[in-house]
Structures are given as C-alpha cells and as structure tokens.
Symmetry: C2
Subunit: 355 residues, 2 copies
Amino acid sequence: MISHKSSLKRRTISEDWLESTGRNDVVIYQTLPDFLIKNQDGVDISRWSLRGKYWLFVFSSEAAELEDPDFSKLLNKFAVQLRPSAGIAMITSSSSGVLSRLHKEHNLTFDLFSDKEMVIWKSVNKDLPDSTGECFCTVLLDPWGRIRKVFPDHSAEDFSRFIVQEMHEMVRHDLALNAEIHTRRAFRAFSSRTVERNSILRILEAGHLAPSCMNKQPWRFIVIDDSEGLKRVQESLSEGNYWMKKAPVLIAAHATKRDDCTLNDRRNYYLFGTGLAVGFMIIQATQMGMVLHPVAGYNPIELKKLLQVPEEAVMITLMALGYPGDPETLGDKHRKIETGDRIRKSLDQVVSWFS
Amino acid sequence: MISHKSSLKRRTISEDWLESTGRNDVVIYQTLPDFLIKNQDGVDISRWSLRGKYWLFVFSSEAAELEDPDFSKLLNKFAVQLRPSAGIAMITSSSSGVLSRLHKEHNLTFDLFSDKEMVIWKSVNKDLPDSTGECFCTVLLDPWGRIRKVFPDHSAEDFSRFIVQEMHEMVRHDLALNAEIHTRRAFRAFSSRTVERNSILRILEAGHLAPSCMNKQPWRFIVIDDSEGLKRVQESLSEGNYWMKKAPVLIAAHATKRDDCTLNDRRNYYLFGTGLAVGFMIIQATQMGMVLHPVAGYNPIELKKLLQVPEEAVMITLMALGYPGDPETLGDKHRKIETGDRIRKSLDQVVSWFS
C-alpha cells in the first residue's frame, strides 16, 4: 500500500496563502451584478449608468425610514455636499410610483431606487445567512461599481460618525498616488527565497490583461526558473548585471513587428504594447511584495539562440524576479542606488499643455 | 474694496477631496523610517534587512509580557505557521543582552528586537498624543515595510481572534490580481463630468515614475483640456474614434529615438519605455475612477504639426481621459464591446517555460 504522506501533512498558513494565489475567484473587490431597476422619476438605472461616481447605497426594506425627519434631513445635507463626486441612493422594494410621491413630499435631494426583487441587496449580502426580508445595511461603491465597504446597519448617528468619514477615506485612497507605483524602484538586491509558479503565473496574467492595438497582444514571455536554465541564461548577461545572478526567476520578453498593428505612416505598436504589458507586470509583482526589474544589458543574439526565439523577433527585455534582499550583497555603486533617493526630471520637462 | 467672495464660500466635501489630490503628502501607506537596531543575537536589523517578508511587530515597553506563558506560546505557534512568508518580532526597549537571555529561557521561535530609543514605535504612533512610555500596539507590515494596519492594543485573545486573521486578509489582498488591472477595460463611453487639473497631474506623475533604460525618461506628454484645443485635435481623429469627441481631456504621447538607449544590435527603448509609462498612467487613472484609453487611429502628421512636435518624434498614441459614462451613447458595435466579456488569447499562447 502506498502511503500518501504529503497529503496528510499539516499545512501551514503560508501554504494556504500560496495556494490561494492560483485561484481565479480571488478578487480584491466584488463588483455589482447586472441589474435594471427604476428611480423615483421612473428612469432606468443599471450598473452601467451608475459608473463614474461614488455611491452610498442605503438599503431599507420599506421606505418607512424616510418618515424619520432627522434621517432624511441628514441624507439631504450629505447628498448636496458630496456632489458631483458622489451620490446617495436609498434602495427599497417599494414601487417607483410610491417613491416618486415620497421624494416630492419630503423634498429629497438624494435618489430613491425601486429594487422590487432586491437583486442588489441579495448580491451584496450573498455571504450572509438567509434574509428575513429585513435589510438596513449601507454599502460604499466606487466609480466602477466595486463594493468597497459594507456596514451591516445604519442610523443617523452612523452617518454622522462613521459612514461619511469612511467614504472620505476611500476617496482619499483612490486619489492618492497608486501605492505600487509609489513603492516601486529598480531594486537589485534579491533574497534567496524561491518564487512559487502560481505567483509567476499571476504576474504573467496581469501583463496579459494589458490593452494593445486592436487587441493584438503582441507580447511573448519565456520564464526561466530552474537552476540549470538560469545558469545558461546568466551567461548572456552583461557584466554590470552581475546582481541578476541572485534572482530565482528570469523572464525574457520578446515581440515581433508583424504580430501587431503597423500603420502606413511607419508607426508600429509591438514594442509600445510590450512595454505596457511589462508595466502591468511590475505593478502586480510590487503588490505581491516582489521586485520585477527589466534590463537591456544582455547579448540578444546569444539569448535568442538559447531560448529558440525566431530571428525576426526583438528580444526587448530580460527581467529579474524575486523577493527583495539585503542591499549589503550589492557592489558599492548599486548599494547607494538601492537605498538612495529617486531621480526624475521635473514634470515640466516631460509635460506641456496645449491651448 | 474688493470682496474675496470665493474664499468665503462654504466648501463642499467634494472640493476638499479634489484639493487633497494635489498634495504630495497623501500616501496610501506610510513606510517605516530608517533605523538600525539589534535582535536577540546582536545582529543589526534595518528596514532594508526586513524587506521581502510580512512582519507582525508586537510592541511592548518592557519584555515582561514574555513572562506570560500563554502569550509567548501563542506567538511561538504563529511564528512557525507563518514561515517563510512572514515573521513575528516583539519590539521592546530592553537591551540585546537581556533579550538574548529571555529568548533562550523561553525557547522562543520568534524574534526579539531591541529598540532602545523606541524609534520605530514613535514613527508608528506619531499621530497619537505624547506617549507615557507605555506601548502595547501591534503593527502589520508588508514586504516593503509599509505599515498596513495598526492595532492599539494586544493580548493573546486579540491574536487568536483578529490579528492573524487580518494578516491573512492582507496577504490574500496582495496575492490577488491587482484590482485596477482587473477592472480596467478599453471603455469608450464618457460622462460630461470635467476632470480637475490636479487629477490630470497625478496621472502624469504616475507615468513619470515608470522605470526606463538608464533612467532616460523618454516619454513626452501634451495635455489638451480646453474646448478650443479639443476641437482642433479632434479633427485629426479617424472616423472610428468618434467616441473620443466626448472625452473632456486628450493626452498625446510622443517620444524620440535619440532620447533613449540605442544598443548596437538595433534594439532601441523609446517606444517600449513610453508604453511602460502609459501602463502606469492607466493604472493610476483606473484607481481614480477614470478611463484612460490610448488609441492609434489619428493622422500623426496633422497632429504633430498642430501640437508642434518635432518631425523626428513618433506620435505613438493619443489617449482619451474622463469619467465613464452611459454605454447607450455609443454605436451598436461599441456598446456591445463596452459591456461584453474580455477577449484574450490563452496564457499558453504567450508564455513558455525554458528548462
């Protein structure tokens, strides 16, 4: 009898985490489902028509809460203050006709949505136990209809104290410089920690989701992650790229002109498009706590031969991938760059305004 | 007397939000300061040597908490489970020698850091009122030393119930597909909402932080955001790009070969590098709730003349920028694409593994 020892081994939290990277259902934010409902004016509302604004969805099983003058006064005030970046909608199962009357009666400045089948509420609450029909939660949505925060309850006090503050925090987060772009540097020090294939695939998937001219997807990637392969590829590196020998993974990117748009005025898009995909890969790697550092310093003829890349392709970059390590392992010059300030031309030198 | 009415106007929350985009001090995650402390073995610990792992920092004004056998047992267990993705360190003001003795005495599997001046604790708590010297907070750090979560207190119960769960959530977030890459599509429907110049600048700043060959920064951008300028630029659009006439901002990107690396084997990097910068701009715009859609369909000769771009430059793309709008404003074909599924080659068609 064969004993399947490995499957009986007690898993560590780290192993669970790594496995979850391979699952396609892991999304950071859940998105609203497709729906078609009406507002207080009888106008169709879909998840598409809500795009472009932040929304506070206040769910209420009946519109009765509007009878509380303090609550509707408070929502009125916030609705005015939040314009034009954000809207407030109270969502009930009441008909559009009832909502129209209530909207006029109480002089409301926020929207009332009639979701008779409670489609939106059910999608937000799908992880909760079966509903009794009572629903008073509040949901913060971003301009893409992504559910950013769910509050299980709401009252006038919640709004004044927490909910509008949380919305403010969300907007501040979104308007700030992207965290991965802010953190990313062309780091060179790698730790010896290996990179799981699931993590490599996630980074490649991110690059492959980049846009391209007529969706031609001209990028091609070759992953080198075993010691024998790494040794052979390292031979084509230029001397200054000694630090890449410590990276546990190398990824070569190549592209061919005829795989992408070529316009009759000599513009072609295969290099631009591959750059865009590499940009997305760098963002993904940074989010995952890794360095992805593209270089140009290698012998492209040797490398193309070794990796069996067609003659007509351009071997545009070789990238080092791994977890960041101790800067002390670098040479003097590179150690200073690793921990030094970022150097850029002023924005004025690369941007102008036409009028 | 001139009345400065505008400065007396009551500001809305939206106005406050927009203003905050122009502030350079708005960062999503605060990063650990530079420090140099010792662990229980007398080894130097800096923020650089901690990179590449998640960390749970457990602050304690004295190492006395270690005397609680339940607490140190619990930390021991978690430290083993979290390897190799994450580490646990208890940070106190005790000397390295004291910590060395305690580490052996209690058979600890987690680290003890000696931060005599409480440099790290002060940086984490700089927004709190003056400290009394008592500090028991717990901090979650990501592999970049970014402070992701601060818990004001800690106990064995907190760890079992919340803190390790929160760490798990953070890792799941980081290992998932990047939210902006997941959300981004080549959307065409724009709302009429204008885009503030601060927001345009933030997007350009993000692109300008992209890496480039030898840090040459070859990208050049021209922003068109007034109605007269937009009208003139729109004349160079190809017919299929009718939808770009609704975008409140257009950004032209151009680059010149001699502004970037050219290697003697005919490789050049100006188009690849500009693609990378545009990739970063798209991520930033998506995070801000906006569509940034680059196209190739325009008359580059007319456009270069109008925008006074040198003859030798390549006008590589024109980008439409704005908030997403109602897909009903699009023609039949584009409306279907706007709300339809994403189309990609299988990953196998663009990725191969060398060994």
